[in-house]
């Protein structure tokens, strides 16, 4: 992921900081250039990156000026490191706790997102994940648009041995969603996952349909499923999904590829919503939990960066 990759590049950049006799503006600029290059190559939003650069500079300058000559050279380096890390943490950690499914309660989770980003696959993975942890889990296929959508759910749910609901003839996704959720609630299912069609902000009817499905099933948590390879369109699309569906969590898929997921990180920053899982393959168990805090702590454990948190 972008931060893991950044960890390595930052290490190199920061060790050059350690080698520099004085930390002045030139050194800071060079360091920031390296950090920003890594972020841009990972698809983090261009505006976010220049904001980060600006914020770090302002912060560092302010600290340098207020403490004047009292600041020892070693401490100046720490000020720089800390400013950079705080801003990176800020990017990926909105400081919001995602919803946690409760036992003995019908937890409704609705998956939304752009076309082909991995919703249907992820719905089955989620069902498997919660099933393994003792939740009675099931999937409702409320995608009546995509060719073969119900077959896809049927086949993958069967493979995963989870219950599913859908229809070959009903064409109204709102009706199917409502029926399916009502049926599974009656049958005392604990995690009810509603899969929806892919959609995008440019087609307002598709967004309206998503809002209606949401009204019909009253999800406890709506999840935005986002492809790790998305570039600069991530911010506008995720904002639009946030405005209409008010999702409470993000799942980033296809992290088994080469993509660093910077677009997804821009979605986190744009919508102040945490990532909860990473999809890491096409198989049913290719799902990794993601929590910003432990991830960042681990990242901060990289070589030279260690000890930073003590300052």
């Amino acid at each position: 992921m972008v931060l893991a990759d950044l960890g390595r590049r930052l290490n190199a950049a920061l060790s050059s900081l350690n080698r520099a006799p004085v930390v002045d503006e030139v050194v800071l600029d060079a360091l920031l250039k390296e950090v920003c290059a890594a972020l841009l190559e990972s698809d983090v939003n261009v505006k976010l990156v220049s904001q980060l650069r600006q914020k770090v500079k302002t912060k560092v300058k302010a600290t340098f000026e207020t403490s004047g000559d009292k600041l020892k050279e070693a401490n100046r380096k720490n000020v720089v490191q800390k400013a950079i890390f705080d801003e990176l943490v800020h990017l990926v950690d909105p400081g919001v706790e995602p919803y946690k499914p409760k036992k003995g309660h019908p937890n409704v989770i609705m998956a939304v997102g752009l076309q082909g980003n991995g919703k249907t696959t992820t719905c089955t993975k989620l069902a498997v994940h919660y099933q393994k942890r003792g939740f009675k889990s099931c999937i409702v296929c409320a995608d009546t648009f995509r060719a073969g959508a119900f077959d896809q759910t049927r086949q993958s749910a069967t493979k995963a041995k989870v219950a599913y609901f859908g229809s070959y003839t009903e064409t109204d996704p709102v009706a199917i969603a409502a029926q399916g959720v009502a049926k599974f609630k009656k049958e005392k299912f604990e995690v009810i996952i509603v899969d929806t069609s892919g959609r995008h902000k440019q087609e307002s009817e598709l967004f309206e349909e998503m809002v209606q499905i949401g009204h019909a099933v009253q999800p406890d948590m709506t999840v935005l499923v986002l492809d790790a390879s998305i570039g600069q369109a991530a911010e506008a699309q995720s904002r639009a999904f946030k405005d209409s569906a008010n999702f409470g969590a993000i799942i980033v898929t296809k992290m088994d590829g080469h993509a660093k997921g910077g677009g997804a990180i821009s979605a986190v920053a744009a919508t102040q919503t945490p990532i909860i899982f990473l999809g890491t393959g096409e198989h049913l168990t290719d799902l990794d939990r993601f929590a910003p805090q432990p991830f960042i702590s681990k990242l901060l454990g990289f070589g030279d960066v260690q000890g930073l948190m003590e300052h």
């Binding site: 082909g116 648009f145 896809q152 759910t153 995008h200 087609e203 998305i230 570039g231 369109a233 590829g257």
Partner: protein, 346 residues
Amino acid sequence: LGSVLARLTGSKVLTQEDLRPVLEDMKQHLMKKNVAKEIAEKICEGVEESLVGKRVGGFQSASHAFIGVRHYLMALIATNATVRQALSTSITRILTPKTSTDLLLSIRSKLSSPLSSTQLRLPYTIAFVGVNGVGKSTNLSKVCFWLIQNGLRVLIAACDTFRSGAVEQLRVHVRNLSMLGINGATDGKGRVELYERGYGKDAAGIAKEAIAFARDNDFDIVLIDTAGRMQDNEPLMRALAKLVSVNNPDKIIFVGEALVGNEAVDQLSKFDRALRDFSGLSGIGKGRGVDGMLVTKWDIVDDKVGAALSMTYVTGQPILFVGTGQTYTDLRQLRVANVVQAILSD
């Protein structure tokens, strides 16, 4: 202002220093339009090379120091305009196809080439390849619609034998396409069929059978749907290369999303390389590469169309089609001028 303009008669030879800030802005601008960083940098380098040492007009002589600020601004505007022009030229050059994009012509010339009396005519074959979920199967169906509109008989080969629902997805498309009225006729029956052998089988073998079936049953075209795969997954890339080397399709179309960011470069170069390296019977790099691109989800990116530029830059191959939606008619030819305009727009 008029009097100032009147005095702007000088000219100047552009230096790297003049260009640096403008080019830095330009790079940022290209990246905002979703051009991959590496490609944005290369394009800027190209523009710089083409401009350093060039004489541009619109500069004022230094003696008019009292209008220093205006002087500076006018110089900047002149530089900007020159750079913008050079950028436009450069992008246009990258996007303009170097080989023919007339697929119908290529199909018709194969189908009408002379045969000996004992030979059976082989169908024209097109393989659709790319990473997961980009729109291969959907856009294959759109291309199918376009081909049958043009009076051709199409067989779709269901060679994604892995992803749940992949075969049924194509079956639904074939059913829809056979019901659509085509060129005045009431339905398209017999114009399109599906060749499928279910799941779990070897894709290369199914493609081979499908081509033989098409040959024996007088189909003009075989469209081969393949499973999505990550470009770093070597076993899957080898399997794709095998499909290519066994069947030697007439066209290998890489399907990529307009949404994709920096990955555009890695996806395309690795698909191209893996196909070349693993499909060649006579050694590394001797096999077939990607012949052209189909860029999907064009309707989702507004004016952030930079992926098209990254993709054409990487391979030098043309964009044969763009996908602009989820229905059969949402398939277009790339309009280079429109793309250039979208990329240059603020």
